[in-house]
């Protein structure tokens, strides 16, 4: 303690100088627009750089899991393909339909930043406006819904996570098509609520909840979660607790969904409102 005091007294000139300089530069950065902009620019670049490095390193560690996940999805897709081969009559394929258009297309992107422990969580992916990503596009992963694109820069896109209290997703029960709204519980990264399901619907624990496709953002039938518990709070609707199917703690690759008919649907909806 005495030594520390002596060091401070011996170097008081230097210390005072440092204090004044730090004070001055904090004034500079806080009160001058140009310098403030430069400062934030540089610090943001640094942050982006380091989080990319970190992501690269950890991605290497989890390669095995990613491989398994991709293999799983491959198998699923192959199964679906086989089913289609069986069910689609070969005649249909030869019909030329000029008005037919692909409804959705998918772009893969890698998550570079993610959070699960806030009330309003966001994540960032490494595709941006140069990859024709636009705001309001849906983001999904093999395990279910991830979120909606909020804003884009040239190379990055900011995504409102499903774990964000501002986000509501139109959802339905897979077995009987009753639809409601999905929202995050705000407490744990794997718990959510389903609202607006009337009391006469027959529910069971373990029922699958999928997206309804009504909003034209998400394709129909993307997995959201499973019912873990439900109760009657006294009213018209159930209180339903869900387990979110996606594990947001190990999100790695996601798909960004382009919906080609969204504009069309929106235009019509607008007309209906008028």
């Amino acid at each position: 303690m005495r030594n520390l005091l002596r060091i401070i007294i011996n170097n008081q000139f230097l210390l005072l100088f440092l204090i004044f300089e730090i004070l001055s530069y904090s004034f500079v950065v806080r009160n001058n627009n140009y310098q403030q902009g430069r400062y934030y620019n540089v610090s943001q670049n640094l942050h982006g750089y380091f989080s990319r490095k970190k992501e690269k390193f950890f991605q290497y560690l989890s390669l095995r899991e990613i491989n398994l996940e991709l293999a799983d999805e491959n198998a699923k897709l192959k199964n679906q393909l086989e089913q289609l081969k069986l069910t689609t009559p070969t005649k249909l394929i030869s019909i030329k339909d000029t008005t037919h258009k692909q409804m959705y297309s998918y772009i893969t992107a890698k998550v570079v930043n993610n959070s699960v422990n806030k009330q309003y969580n966001y994540l960032m992916v490494d595709k941006g406006s140069l990859d024709s990503i636009k705001p309001e596009m849906a983001v999904i992963s093999p395990n279910g819904v991830v979120g909606i694109v909020e804003s884009v820069t040239d190379h990055y896109a900011l995504i409102i996570s499903l774990l964000n209290r501002n986000l509501k997703v139109s959802a339905k029960i897979k077995k009987n098509n009753y639809f409601g709204a999905f929202e995050w519980s705000g407490t744990s990264y794997n718990k959510g609520h389903l609202t607006d399901i009337p009391l006469h619907v027959k529910l069971e624990k373990g029922d699958t909840i999928i997206t309804s496709g009504y909003s034209a953002t998400f394709p129909e039938g993307v997995l959201l979660g499973y019912i873990t518990d439900f109760s009657d709070p006294g009213g018209n609707f159930f209180n339903i607790d869900l387990e979110i199917s996606n594990d947001f703690k190990k999100l790695n690759y996601v798909y960004i969904v382009t919906c080609f008919r969204k504009e069309e649907q929106k235009k019509l909806e607008l007309k209906a409102k008028q």
């Binding site: 100088f17 004044f20 001055s24 530069y25 500079v28 001058n32 310098q35």
Partner: protein, 168 residues
């Protein structure tokens, strides 16, 4: 003692007003901006204790900042200048140190000593100030040219002023 204290306080405010009202309006094609007020730090007595030197310089800088809407920039430059001053004085000291009772004045130590001492201090001040104003190193030589030219101009003003007003 009291008389010299009053003299320094008056010159503190006089230099700030002179800087704001006159010298801030002199700008030759955006290249040369004289910052004459640093004369105050140059003229402080040899015996000024370190903490007082730093504090007055910081206050001087921040006062100029308040009037030019550049909060912190002049303060940073002046603090750095005050920090470097004892080192400069030591390198330029006569063989047996400064006599007690003398001041860093042109009339006592001569033109050559005073010009060297003042120019180096002004140069460090302008260096910190101009690079803080730019806040990047991409136009390094352009800024450096501005520093050199402004240093020469401020130095001229400081030396000339010694022959007229601040003789004691």
């Amino acid at each position: 003692m009291i008389r010299s204290l009053v003299k320094y306080i008056i010159s503190f405010f006089a230099l700030i007003f002179l800087q704001i009202l006159v010298f801030n309006n002199i700008q030759f094609s955006g290249f040369i901006n004289p910052y004459f007020y640093v004369l105050f730090i140059i003229l402080l007595p040899f015996e000024t204790p370190g903490w007082l030197l730093l504090t007055t310089s910081f206050l001087l800088g921040i006062s100029v900042d308040v009037f030019t809407h550049t909060l912190g920039m002049h303060a940073a430059a002046c603090t750095f200048m005050a920090f470097i001053r004892p080192t400069i004085l030591k390198t330029f000291s006569p063989r047996d140190g400064y006599e007690s009772g003398t001041m860093p004045r042109l009339s006592i130590f001569g033109l050559e000593w005073f010009a060297k001492y003042a120019l180096i201090l002004i140069f460090t001040h302008h260096m910190v100030l101009f690079y803080t104003e730019m806040f990047r190193f991409s136009d390094f030589f352009y800024t450096f040219l501005r520093v050199i030219l402004s240093t020469i101009f401020t130095g001229l003003l400081v030396v000339i002023s010694q022959y007229f007003v601040f003789r004691r």
